[in-house]
């Protein structure tokens, strides 16, 4: 496969050594696709607002198998610190993309196995269309393979992905699969956290089968120097529900990309989110919701609060295929700019091929409302406190959409802890 190396220019060159020594048809074909397209630049419509230049600045090594246990323990404690009750829930912990059984607490009522033992790539991910999925396909080492048996209510499960980079920047590319079988129920809480300079490139393949429900909350608290570019595919069956929420707080450059497909009638998809960024952070929430069957509902509410030089990106596409009659789609993206240097780029998109539909989207951008600030201040509340209240209230309208009370409390606690510490101005 040495022929590939000459095509690996730019950021891709960093992975060339690993990409040139792959075995297996799927990995090789993914590496081939990657060599043809390269990593996306801003000329690519899907990456118009998010540049991957930052990725090219570091030489990312394959994450080593041995990691300092104390560092992992500290990170894990950090995850639970805001809301210790979470530590009681079953969890599967990944460290640098590899399953870490020593830190995990196995759940009951589910089938658990690992990609590292039996590499199954699933059918939804499209390495030929998405270069980052191709990179994952080529380099994935491990991942969660979870199956909730039909009819089972599996309760809560936490999927905790920790990145630990000590001297050298590392990259890891976990490949997760979650299947919620017919009429089953799962509340999945993904947490991403870490320290040091690392590149986290997960792909998650989700199937919510007929009548099943998956409530999925992703808490994005990656380390300050981390780049995290994740892609999630969700296949939603007949009368099933995929209810998702992402809370973006951490990382240097973070993209959370969701492809949800309503494949059978009467499915429901929620792709909600909130992000609160400051400093030089870039946070990108991108989604493509495909209505491929009739009588489905999709809802999306995303709220962004941007301070410092932070940049928020929202790209949300709702695609309604010709068969998807009686589609009900709604999408709303709102941004609050707190600083003169903050920026929001939003692209809500409707692509509609069926006539009997009701689809709408909205977007707003603005600053804190002076009248509201005045109202609070006239009641003796300090400027700082008043601003904090308004910001919290703004984000809370998105967090309130999290159905699962445990996850909702967790999100609120993490946010409160994070911004109380820093004493937001």
């Amino acid at each position: 496969m040495n022929a590939l190396s000459k095509d690996m220019s730019g950021p891709l060159a960093l992975f060339a050594n690993r990409l040139n020594t792959l075995t297996g048809a799927q990995r090789q074909s993914a590496a081939g696709a990657l060599a043809r397209t390269g990593l996306p630049d801003r000329k690519s419509e899907a990456w118009k607002y998010t540049a991957l230049r930052a990725l090219g600045k570091q030489d990312y090594l394959q994450a080593p198998a041995q990691v300092d246990e104390a560092a992992v323990r500290a990170l894990l404690d950090g995850v639970f610190q805001a809301h210790p009750a979470m530590a009681a829930l079953p969890r599967v912990v990944f460290v640098n993309g590899r399953h870490a059984p020593a830190f995990s607490v196995a759940p009951d009522d589910v089938d658990l196995s690992f990609f590292g033992q039996n590499a199954e790539f699933g059918l939804q991910a499209a390495p030929d269309r998405d270069p980052l999925v191709a990179l994952n396909t080529a380099l994935a080492e491990d991942g969660l393979v979870l199956r909730v048996p039909a009819g089972e209510d599996a309760g809560h499960l936490m999927l905790i992905s920790l990145g630990v980079a000590q001297e050298q920047p590392v990259s890891f590319h976990p490949r997760h699969t979650v299947v919620v079988e017919k009429d089953a129920y799962l509340r999945l809480i993904s947490v991403q956290a870490g320290q040091g300079t690392y590149f986290h490139n997960p792909v998650m393949d989700i199937r919510v089968e007929d009548g099943a429900t998956l409530e999925h909350v992703t808490l994005q608290t990656e380390g300050a120097q981390a780049i995290s570019l994740g892609t999630l595919y969700a296949h939603v069956g007949h009368k099933s529900v995929y209810d998702s929420f992402v809370l973006g707080l951490g990382g240097q450059l973070v993209r959370h990309e969701v492809h949800a497909r309503l494949a059978s009638p009467r499915g429901v998809v929620h792709v909600n989110g909130a992000q609160r960024l400051a400093g030089q952070q870039v946070g990108d929430i991108t989604s493509v919701i495909t209505h491929a069957a009739s009588d489905c509902i999709s809802r999306q509410t995303v709220r962004n609060v941007l301070d410092g030089h932070a940049r928020g990106v929202f790209q949300g596409k709702v695609l309604v295929e010709q068969v998807a009659l009686k589609t009900d789609g709604y999408q709303m993206n709102q941004a609050l700019l707190l600083s003169p240097d903050a920026e929001i780029d939003a692209k809500p998109e409707l692509e509609i091929y069926a006539d009997d539909v009701r689809c709408s989207h909205g977007a707003t951008v603005g600053a804190l409302d002076d009248d509201q600030l005045f109202y609070l201040r006239s009641r003796g509340i300090s400027v700082q406190e008043a601003r904090q209240m308004l910001i919290d209230a703004f984000l809370d309208e998105a967090i309130a959409l999290v159905v699962d009370a445990t996850a909702q409390t967790f999100c609120r606690a993490v946010m409160a802890a994070r911004f109380a510490q820093k004493g937001e101005a």
Binding site: E45, P340, E343, E349, L350, Y353, D355, C359, G366
Partner: protein, 494 residues
């Protein structure tokens, strides 16, 4: 109910299933050989007796164009265009000044008649002298293929100090003005089609309204694409000085034919302090037949620069024609407190494809923009609203409101909304909303219950749907536009 009557009339007319404006005038043409190279550009320039700088400008644009790629991002599909397989220059043969209408080429008169130009205006257009003292409300600069056949009312306008003439003439007679502004809003290298236009543009209109003058009449141009295989490359430049204002109407019809034709116009508007420009378009070029054969490719770059404080540029468009539309009339809001507006109705039927919208670039403080876009898709057509609202760091207090509504008629068509919203100023406020739906069953039922046929009911509802835009059109255009909507949607219901 006049709208209903109009619908019925319009639909009856279309019952004959011919394109109303589908006629072709057979007059002798003076035509350059097919193909595009430096020699052709030199030929165009020399035929138009242009000064040296103009030729150099064209050649530079041609060089730029050669290095550019045709844009592929729009949601339209068409077979590759062979830019060498077209004539880049065609001029109607000139006859020395006819004394009366009897001497005018009858084919030309018939064309005007079908276009609905009143007789006395026809005479003016054809260059016939008209008795003194007759005043008309609209000045017409008819672009018949590539050369302006005649310009009317120049005298009245001249008295007011307004210059309204073919751009080819302006290049010769007002070279300083043209040189100062041409290509400053849409630079030659702005995009593939603007570069092509800059290299080969044959004619168009030039308007200059001096300081403090309110243009005494609405200015109007009829564009037509007339000869086979002639790409049409119009160039329009409107400059409005401090405190002045103008309303400009552009209406387009084209004869029916099978071969696809390329139209790549460039329109540049410049508004100084307190100036205002209202630019209205009704575009109903031949959209191709019901099987998607033929039709015009309309790849247009329209942009206005609000350079002065409190200046205002307003675009209103009704787009019912063309096989493919690629058009984004934009405003660069540079002057403090300047205002940009975009009102659009885009209708596609059969196999038409439209990718149209606007760009509002907020550069100055307290700039405001409004976007109202109504999209109607029927048949097997695809219609996309693509719009950009960008607020730059210095545009404190900028304000945008955008509303995009799409209506789908039938289950074989597509309607898409692709807004780009970019804000880099915390004191800017942007609001965007979009909806897509079909005609409400309740509204239809309500109308049917009162004795309207389904087609009439749809006509009524569609007119209501577009009302916010149609009311922005000057009177004479509004009437034509309403009729056009009905005609365009014929056969899509039921």
């Amino acid at each position: 109910m006049p709208a209903v009557t109009q619908t019925r009339e319009a639909v009856e007319k279309l019952g004959q299933s011919t394109y109303k404006w589908g006629f072709e005038t057979d007059i002798e043409m003076d035509m350059a050989p097919k193909g595009l190279n430096e020699d052709i550009i030199r030929l165009i320039s020399s035929r138009k007796e242009e000064p040296e700088w103009m030729l150099e400008w064209r050649l530079a644009a041609y060089k730029t164009w050669q290095a550019m790629q045709e844009p592929k991002w729009a949601k339209v599909a068409y077979p590759p265009i062979d830019y060498q397989d077209a004539h880049y220059y065609a001029a109607p043969r000139k006859k020395p000044g006819p004394k009366s209408l009897d001497e005018v080429d009858p084919e030309l008169l018939r064309t005007y008649e079908k276009l609905g130009i009143p007789l006395h205006e026809q005479a003016l257009l054809a260059g016939v002298e008209v008795p003194e003292g007759e005043r008309m409300p609209v000045a017409v600069d008819a672009v018949f293929d590539s050369v302006s056949v005649a310009t009317t009312f120049r005298k009245t306008l001249e008295e007011a100090g307004v210059i309204f003439c073919p751009i080819s003439e302006a290049v010769k007679e007002h070279p300083d003005l043209v040189r100062k502004y041409l290509g400053t809003v849409v630079p030659a290298g702005d995009n593939f089609f603007s570069a092509l236009n800059s290299a080969v543009f044959t004619d168009g209109s030039f308007v200059y309204v001096p300081k403090g003058v309110r243009c005494p009449m609405e200015l109007s141009t009829y564009f037509r694409i007339n000869a086979r295989n002639t790409g049409q490359f119009e160039r329009t430049l409107i400059v409005v000085e401090e405190g002045a204002s103008v309303s400009y109407l552009e209406g387009c019809t084209a004869p029916m034919r099978d071969e696809n034709q390329l139209h790549a116009a460039v329109v540049e508007l410049v508004a100084m302090d307190d100036a205002s420009i209202k630019y209205s378009t009704v575009q109903n070029w031949y959209p191709g037949d019901e099987n998607g054969r033929g039709g015009i490719y309309n790849f247009v770059t329209k942009r206005g620069a609000c350079r002065g404080a409190r200046s205002k540029i307003s675009w209103t468009q009704v787009e019912t024609g063309s096989a493919i539309t690629w058009k984004y009339p934009s405003c660069i809001l540079q002057g403090e407190g300047s205002v940009g507006e975009f009102y659009s109705v885009a209708v596609t039927n059969n196999h038409q494809q439209a990718d149209t919208g606007t760009k509002m670039i907020h550069l100055g403080r307290n700039t405001r923009s409004t976007i109202i876009a109504k999209t109607i898709s029927a048949g097997r057509s695809d219609s996309t609203y693509r719009g950009l609202v960008r607020v730059q760091p210095k545009a404190s207090g900028a304000r945008n409101f955008t509303q995009c509504d799409s209506l789908l008629i039938g289950d074989q068509c597509g309607a898409h909304t692709v807004p780009y919203i970019e804000s880099r100023n915390m004191n800017a406020r942007i609001e965007h909303e979009a909806t897509t739906s079909k005609i409400s069953e309740d509204q239809l039922f309500y109308c049917r219950q009162r004795g309207l046929s389904e087609e009439d009911a749809v006509g009524l509802i569609v007119n209501g749907f577009c009302r916010d835009v149609l009311k922005e059109l000057p009177m004479e255009f509004a009437v034509e536009a309403q009729k056009l909507l009905q005609i365009s949607l014929e056969g899509s219901v039921g």
